[in-house]
């Protein structure tokens, strides 16, 4: 009997569990393999949809689904968070329980979440579209009442998830206030600690002229240190100050709490893994995928997805001894909406720098297709499509 434990029922955990359930269906049926997914959450949200909720007023319930409908047949769901993983003795414990749950393989996919403790005053001053759909909806309520003033958006700290999303917020706010006919009365300022508006030069070449055309001010190399909500003022590490009336910054992110201080993690709690086969350093039967890892690429759903495919394939290959092992290529595919039904994509791999892709309506439609197929993709229904789309970047042999 082989027991596979997966921690976290976000996109990475669900896709990995569904592929394992499919590839090992015979073994599961014969009682030779179990797959157990751990997460306290009863509902999951389509996180890229937070932008639509925040800046277009989409109802949060439209991007939410019960977890029980997302878990594939053959996967056992335990609605508890894991608070301890013992890689040496191969067991986990859930919150408040002393029971040791043994495993043979473990996949940690616990994601990342906003870390407001890193920046004094940010929590009181800021509204973000990264925490959850409800919080994103509060932004739409706020912008609906704005008649004039200065909105500051951008990157509050590193790392953060969904790299293009702060830029998208600037473009979508521009669209919103232009459509409302009050754009001249609303100042939009984008701040970033990087030296470019978008960190990758090829994409920066595409969007920098758009910022100028759309009258979005940008302040680069701005390292947010503190925020004073009474004075409505941000102070940088270098002592520069910036006034605002409304603040929608992307906060820095943190990993799940139980990972900090663990020997599998770096000093900030991100799990140290091999960037190609995702095994946790020094533990061949332990893996981490998605935002959870310390791999220096985008913290985004596509990474969790493609990493999950690799890990699931390799575990199934080891158990059945039938399939070839594969590697993650580092492929990114982050859409960046530029407003008015156009989008670009941030596309690259470990071996290929980010491409220069001009915004187009076709790209926007591709982004919309992904929204339509997202929930089904968690069950693995569209792997044929992803395989066709990513071609040699889907995985490396």
């Amino acid at each position: 009997m082989k027991n596979i434990a997966i921690i976290g029922s976000g996109a990475g955990g669900l896709i990995t569990s569904s592929k394992l359930a499919k590839d090992l269906s015979k073994e599961i049926k014969n009682g030779e393999v179990t797959i157990t997914l751990f997460d306290k959450k009863r509902e999951q949200e389509f996180q890229p949809g937070y932008l639509e909720v925040a800046f277009r007023g989409t109802d949060p319930s439209k991007i939410r689904r019960p977890v029980k409908k997302l878990v594939s047949s053959g996967v056992k769901m335990i609605y508890d968070n894991v608070e301890k993983v013992d890689l040496a003795d191969r067991y986990v414990k859930t919150e408040g329980s002393s029971e040791k749950i043994n495993y043979d393989y473990i996949i940690i996919s616990t994601g990342s979440s906003p870390d407001y403790d890193q920046i004094d005053g940010l929590k009181q001053a800021n509204m973000d579209f990264h925490t959850d759909a409800y919080n994103a909806s509060l932004i739409y309520n706020r912008i609906s009442s704005i008649k004039s003033g200065k909105i500051v958006v951008g990157i509050g700290g590193l790392p953060y998830k969904c790299p293009p999303s702060p830029n998208e917020s600037a473009f979508m706010l521009d669209e919103y206030f232009r459509k409302k006919g009050i754009r001249d009365d609303v100042e939009i300022v984008y701040i970033t600690p990087f030296t470019r508006i978008y960190s990758a030069e090829s994409i920066n070449e595409v969007i920098e002229p758009m910022y100028e055309r759309r009258d979005i001010e940008s302040i680069t190399a701005f390292n947010t240190d503190t925020v004073d909500d009474e004075k409505k003022e941000i102070t940088s590490l270098e002592g520069e100050t910036l006034k605002y009336d409304y603040l929608f910054l992307t906060p820095p992110h943190k990993p799940a709490g139980f990972l900090k201080g663990s020997d599998m993690s770096d000093e900030d709690g991100w799990v140290k893994v091999d960037k190609k086969d995702l095994h946790i350093t020094t533990y061949d039967n332990g893996f981490a995928i998605g935002d959870t890892t310390n791999i220096p690429i985008s913290k985004a759903g596509v990474e969790a997805h493609l990493e999950g495919v690799v890990v699931a394939n390799n575990i199934a290959a080891e158990i059945t001894g039938t399939e070839q092992k594969i590697k993650f290529t580092g492929r990114t595919q982050c859409s960046m909406e530029t407003g008015f039904h156009k989008a670009t994509f941030v596309v690259g791999t470990y071996d290929r720098p980010v491409e220069k892709i001009e915004p187009s309506t076709m790209n926007y439609m591709e982004k919309k297709v992904m929204e339509k197929i997202y929930w089904g993709s968690l069950h693995g229904h569209y792997e044929w499509l992803f395989k066709y789309h990513f071609k040699k970047d889907y995985f490396e042999k």
């Binding site: 890193q118 590193l158 790392p159 030296t195 240190d225 590490l237 270098e238 002592g239």
Partner: protein, 78 residues
């Protein structure tokens, strides 16, 4: 004075600058940050970042198929 060693080998833009900024956040004025990266963009990006943030770009040298970039933290507010 502390020296913060940051190994960004195997990462491409914005990996090295992300690592640099994260180390900078933890550093004090006077500290050195030694960034090792094999992305060729890391050197000009680090130079540009130092100019913009008023930190000192001490220098860069080739070390075993990588670049070792040294930065003195001078730009933080007192």
């Amino acid at each position: 004075m502390t020296t913060l060693n940051v190994d960004s080998r195997g990462t491409a833009c914005p990996g090295p600058i992300t690592d640099l900024i994260r180390a900078y956040k933890k550093a004090q004025n006077g500290d050195l940050i030694v960034l090792v990266a094999n992305d060729p963009g890391a050197v000009p990006d680090s130079k540009a970042w130092c100019e913009r943030t008023k930190n000192e770009f001490v220098g860069s040298k080739d070390v075993e198929s990588a670049f070792e970039i040294t930065i003195r933290v001078t730009g933080k507010k007192a």
